[in-house]
Symmetry: C2
Subunit: 235 residues, 2 copies
């Protein structure tokens, strides 16, 4: 972490990128209404270099965070030292929002990234005094829940190819251009996210390229050439 600067930030635009459906519970359709609402939260802008830890598993959950730029992973370490990744968070995503008193997962910067840390303390009072903010948090919790479920189901499914295909489609959906993906994360990270090994990830990507389903101009750039085939694989 390097810079730490108090700011007052408008809240809301998160969760807009998600591939999951909007329209939750007749709640205010963020982010459209957020300006009207006018609620504000104070947070500290923080910057982290690649592979830097934002918080550790077990740390007291004093704050939660919103990604401004870059990519963050939330993860856990297994006894054998392998890193299991729960989720990747991109600009606009909120992470570190916990049910209990402390963080169940560690958070680390995948790339160079900027986040805003919001104090959790004091939030509860704001929430009870601002229906919109309360609704927003609720909505966010529901969305995160739905994503966690999708991830569970993805991991339960069979082959490495299925997982990789689903991962590529999921990642592509977050990008502006839905056919060219610039991966912020390493093969190791992808492996940790999909419950595979780095070798299997690499081999599977190579195989997809041989099948002309994707192209790999560089290791970190993936071009989706056959969306139909990918969707069929991800089934």
């Amino acid at each position: 972490m390097s810079v730490s600067l108090a700011v007052t930030a408008k809240f809301g635009q998160a969760a807009s990128r998600t591939a999951l459906s909007p329209m939750p519970w007749g709640m205010p359709a963020l982010p459209e209404e957020r300006e009207a609402s006018g609620f504000e939260l104070t947070g500290a802008v923080l910057h982290f270099g690649p592979e830097r830890q934002i918080y550790a598993e077990g740390d007291e959950a004093r704050s939660f965070y919103k990604v401004v730029s870059g990519v963050v992973r939330t993860c856990r370490f297994l006894s054998d030292g392998r890193r299991q990744i729960d989720a990747f968070h991109v600009a606009g995503d909120v992470f570190g929002f916990e049910a209990g008193a402390d963080h169940r997962l560690a958070a680390e910067a995948v790339s160079d990234c900027t986040v805003i840390a919001y104090r959790r303390r004091g939030l509860e009072t704001i929430v009870t005094h601002d229906d919109r903010l309360g609704s927003w948090f609720f909505s966010h919790a529901m969305t995160t829940m739905a994503r966690a479920r999708e991830h569970s189901l993805l991991l339960g499914r069979g082959s490495a190819a299925q997982k990789i295909a689903a991962f590529l489609l999921e990642t592509a959906a977050r990008e502006s251009n839905d056919s060219v993906i610039d991966l912020a994360m390493s093969r190791q990270d992808i492996a940790g996210y999909l419950g595979l090994t780095i070798e299997t990830v690499s081999r599977t990507l190579s195989q997809l390229e041989r099948d002309r389903t994707i192209a790999l101009p560089t290791a970190r750039r993936v071009v989706l050439k056959d969306h139909r085939a990918l969707r069929a694989l991800a089934s």
Copy 2:
């Protein structure tokens, strides 16, 4: 479904059995405060026989549900017909609580079971007028999210033995007697929950019995004989 009877039910006692930590966000510590709160929701009591569907994937999410007795599974069907199980819900658990307009997963009765269906419509107004209820729902969403995460991490982990051990410990934690488990679900269900096949589940349980880690007086009854060994396995 057989009986359908309008009732007014006190809400709250859910989420009390969970193994996950309480103390969310300085929110009211349900269920202790629920009587004081006095909020009430109207729901219909429904009864389902084993293997009956409560709602299907894609159904409009008009209601959400609380389990009174029995076990419910939320699941999805893969193209090859296999059933992937997201979660098992026991007495007190709430399910069918969706972020979007419709159910992302199907819900089915594992055993004979009784549930209360609460209309989602009208809830939003109650929530905004009752801080405690709103808080409770938020808290519930967070807990469900945490569970989904734990499930993801479980599925990402390696061996069948690890998964089975974790499943047994998780299930035992829900039982009153933490060493004797009466499984409501079939091997097929366990397989669907852990991303394994029925044969692997059976073989792994047999192996654990040979190792004297568990005993299997009947197929559906598991006695945990060596908690230490199980925890070491689940790691």
